[in-house]
Each structure stands twice: as C-alpha cells, then as structure tokens.
C-alpha cells in the first residue's frame, strides 16, 4: 500500500530579524513540498541554516507557517492542533544530552507523556514503559536511571522510546544521530530501520550526512536555502545527482572504499 501518510505543500515561513533600521525578513522556507508514504523513510538533507529543522518544527506544529498546507492521512492538519492531532506525529531531537530532563528517571520521562495524553490506564504505565524499552533494545534495569551516567546512544534510545510511547504513525528524526559516535550512530540507524519494519512506521529523517541517508532512506529530498533543489529515490540520487549543490554534498563525504582499493 503506497498511500501517503503525510503531505506538505508549498510551505512558506518567514522570520523577522534585527531591530529598528536593521530590521529585515528572512525567508526560511520558500514553498517547500514534501510527502511521505506509509512505512517509508524519507531523507531531508541540507547544511546548517538550509531550513531543514524549521521544516521539522512546522510538521510537528512547533512553528507557524504563513502559507501552504499540511495533510495527514488524507485530511488537513488544522492550525490549532488537538491533543489527538499532536499524538500522531512525534519527534526525536538532535542532542540527547539536552532533550531529556536530567531530573527525571526514564520511567518518569515516558510516563509523563502517557499521563498527559491519557491513552492508557495508570495500571498500564509500567508495563507500557517496559514494552517501549524492549522495543528500543534497552534493558529494563534502566527504568529508574536518570540520564546522568547514561551513554549518548542509550539516551537517544530513551528519546526514541518517548517519541514512540504514543503510538505515532509518523516519526521525525531531526539530526538524531549527529551527536553520536560513529559506532553508536550505526546502532541507532539499525534501530530506526528495524522499527520501520516492526511498527510499519513512517520516518522523516533529517540529516546533513549523505552517507547515513543513503544507508537508511528510500527517497531523499535535498534542501538548500529554504528550497528543495532535488528530490528522487535514494539510489537514483546517488548514482546520478542532477543538482550542483547535491553533487557538492556528495563529494564532501569521506570515501573509505577508495582507500581500501588503493591499498589493495
């Protein structure tokens, strides 16, 4: 079934910057369109300042937009979202060191959301927490731990468990692996790929690293200065990049295999 779970059309966002005479408008997103099918991982790639995080914030409803429309599972997303609307789209943030509350245990972090949305009875809080931890492959013994003393990879797993606690169909991962060591990064990428399989989750994976995107995504959109410059299936994009900016991004990634070949 290749029905669209999410669609964004011609999203425009402007920011006011500066004061008095220096006041000006920054056009952060200039008519960005994006769609994600059921069970698909779509990559959104660009440099710092390209507008990719702004797009993520628009999609989850943290950022208002001046023009354009959002559609979730066929019906338009209203400007003021209900609790139920918000539940469907969840987000994993970049830095697991600052996105988790240092004073809350893992159990509290997850239970807070379950309480706020009241989708399960209080008796089910604990079993649900345990279920979520096993989903992200963390030991149950971590339930009463606080983020302090946990590794970056473990923290990011907790953040993913929190995002999954409300059974979303659509997950946004905003640079979710950029702050992690390469080997830990690999395990989180594998986890996201597995979750897509087990939960039929759709993911918008935002990153500046094309090598990771190539590994994980089915389709890729490249964003530069608030505009999508190229959008195609992953393999096609890498085999035959059309846009000069895309080519530049691809050439920036270190190539290991070439060195191995030379050594042989």
């Amino acid at each position: 079934m290749t029905e669209k779970i999410f669609q964004a059309s011609d999203i425009e966002v402007t920011f006011k910057v500066g004061k008095g005479r220096n006041r000006s408008l920054v056009h952060a997103l200039k008519g960005v369109s994006l769609d994600v099918n059921h069970g698909e991982i779509v990559g959104l790639v660009g440099e710092s300042g390209s507008g990719k995080s702004t797009m993520a914030r628009v999609i989850v409803g943290l950022q208002s937009y001046s023009a354009g429309s959002l559609t979730y599972a066929g019906s338009p997303v209203p400007e003021h979202r209900t609790l139920e609307d918000r539940r469907k789209i969840q987000m994993v943030f970049q830095d697991p060191y600052s996105s988790l509350d240092p004073r809350m245990t893992v159990r509290q972090t997850i239970t807070e959301l379950l309480k706020a949305h009241a989708i399960v009875t209080p008796q089910e809080y604990l079993p649900r927490c345990k279920e979520l931890l096993s989903l992200v492959k963390l030991p149950e013994s971590l339930l009463e731990n606080r983020p302090y003393g946990m590794s970056g990879g473990q923290r990011q797993r907790v953040a993913i468990a929190r995002a999954l606690s409300l059974n979303p169909q659509f997950l946004i991962a905003d640079e979710a692996v950029s702050a992690l060591d390469v080997s830990v990064q690999a395990s989180i990428i594998n986890l996201l790929a597995d979750l897509r399989e087990t939960l039929n989750l759709s993911i918008l994976f935002i990153s500046h690293d094309l090598a990771i995107v190539r590994q994980l995504c089915d389709r890729v959109s490249v964003i530069n200065q608030g505009e999508i410059v190229e959008s195609s299936p992953t393999l096609a994009l890498f085999d035959n990049p059309q846009n000069a900016y895309t080519q530049q991004l691809i050439s920036a990634v270190p190539k290991l295999d070439a060195i191995v070949r030379n050594a042989n």
């Binding site: 492959k137 473990q154 080997s183 990634v253 290991l256």
Partner: protein
Amino acid sequence: MNILEVEDLHVVARIGGRDYTAIDHISFSVAKGHARGLVGESGSGKSLTLRAIMGLLPSNVRVASGSIRFDGKELLNDKGVHLKNVLGSGISMVFQEPSVALNPVMKIGKQITDSLMEHENLNRKQGREIAIDLMNQVGIKNPEKRVDDYPFQLSGGMKQRVMIAAAIACRPELILCDEPTTALDVTIQAQIIELFKTLRSDLKVSLLYVTHDIGVVAQLCDAISVMYSGRIVEQADSIGKVFARPQHAYTKALLSAVPRIDGPIQRLKGMNSTSPSLTQRAESVAPGMITVEDGWEIAPTDDESLHKSWSEN
C-alpha cells in the same frame, strides 16, 4: 625523524581513593611532517592522551610512568610531572567545540594572537596585522572586517577556523587536534580537512588527529592508531594497510560502522555502549582480550566476544 615519541605511557586516575588505569602503557610516534590519526570510542582514552602530551591533565589524573619526547626532548620529569617550559611554542592544540573553547567576550583577532603576544614583544597594531594575516591563511573572508568580530557573530565552521588560526599563530611544529570537525556539518568538515591538508604542505606542520570517525582519518592521515579501553589495539604507519586488512575485531567493527557513500549498502555494525568505565575495567580484567602477534597488543579476541561484552545491536 620523529617529532613526537610517546613510549610506554601509563596514566592513572584517582577515583574514590583508588588508582585506576586510564591509559595502559601505550607507545606511538608522529614522524616529522606526517599526520597520525588516533581513533577510538568515547572513553577509550584518546583525548586523555592528547592532554597528557600537552600537560593539561585534570587534577586527579597523573602520568604514572612512561616518556613523552618532543623533538628529542623529554617532556616529563622523573615523577611524571609535565615540564611545560620545555614545550615552548612547539605544540599547539585545536579543541572539539569551538563555541566553548573561544572566549565569548573577546574579539577574535585578539584571541588569535593572545598566545603569540605572550611569547613575543609585539604592540597592538602589529598583533592586529598578524591576526589578519593568519585569518587570511585559514580562509576567513574579509579578515580586515572580521578581526573585530566576537565569536557569536561567526558560524561554527568559521569559529573552528579562528581556533586553527590561533593554533598556528606561534608557528608550531606539531598540532594536536581533538575532534576538531565532530561538531560541524559534513560540507564544513570537508573544508576544514582541506585546510589541514594545506597547512601540512605549506607550513610542514605535523598532526596528531584524534577522532571517532575513521572516515576523516582516511582523508587526512598517513598513519593510524586504534585505541580501545585505554590501549592501542592496532596501529600502522600506513592507513591503507589497516583499512584493507584490519587485524582486530574492534578495528573491523569500527570500519563496518561507517556508512558508505559508494559501494553496496549493507547493514551497519553498531555497538551499543562506549568503552567500559575505568572502574568497570578494573573489576573484570577486560573480558575476551588477548595478546596478538606483532607486539600489538591486547584486543578483544573475536567478533563474538566483542559483541557479547558490549551488548551489540
């Protein structure tokens, strides 16, 4: 000729009244004009190694034994205390987070020449000119205007260029780099790596480059040392050798954790945790570690035990 020689370096950390081994008798060298990559997981001791060389160890950490020689001169006295005056201006360091390492309330021009003014007798005007010249060298556009900027006015990549300008201000022979591109975008990272390459050929400077990303080492370095759990588990003077025929399970795992931009897409090999903590290491004498041939040294025996001990995923 080696610019830096580290021999049998043993560093201990005092935690709760007990000494724990943080760096376990490591030896390596950096040849003049060459670059060595020091690769490993968070907590493997790679940054601590740099700090030991610079004499910047935290107060509860000390060198227990071993020797560090820069340009043939010993940097440690009999008690393992760092003799900073021997160092002079020959070694400088570039840190990971430029936004943290730079002083937010000091103009960048002044920060670049701060250490130089300390060593040489220069007036403010000369200092400013030198700063502009250095900024030019590291590829900052409009240096005449930028020299009076504060760090918050610059992007991450530009801040890292400022750090590098400050590091080369005293004409060092060796630059220690502590993950200088980890906080940066891939495109900016590529630019900074290019900059280091240019500095190597223009200034004949040697590099000791610490990173967790083996892909960066592939681009920049000639030699490589792989650290795990406070030990060097594999090293070679040519990176190609290690990349084509990695000997140790950990190096192999590290290589297969890097997503590739070319070639077939395979499932990555990820590790769940960082190196075991110092106290854990002392309790269980590093499970599954053995001595392998060629003198290089102790490593997890095989794939299986490597994954078992660090709950692979």
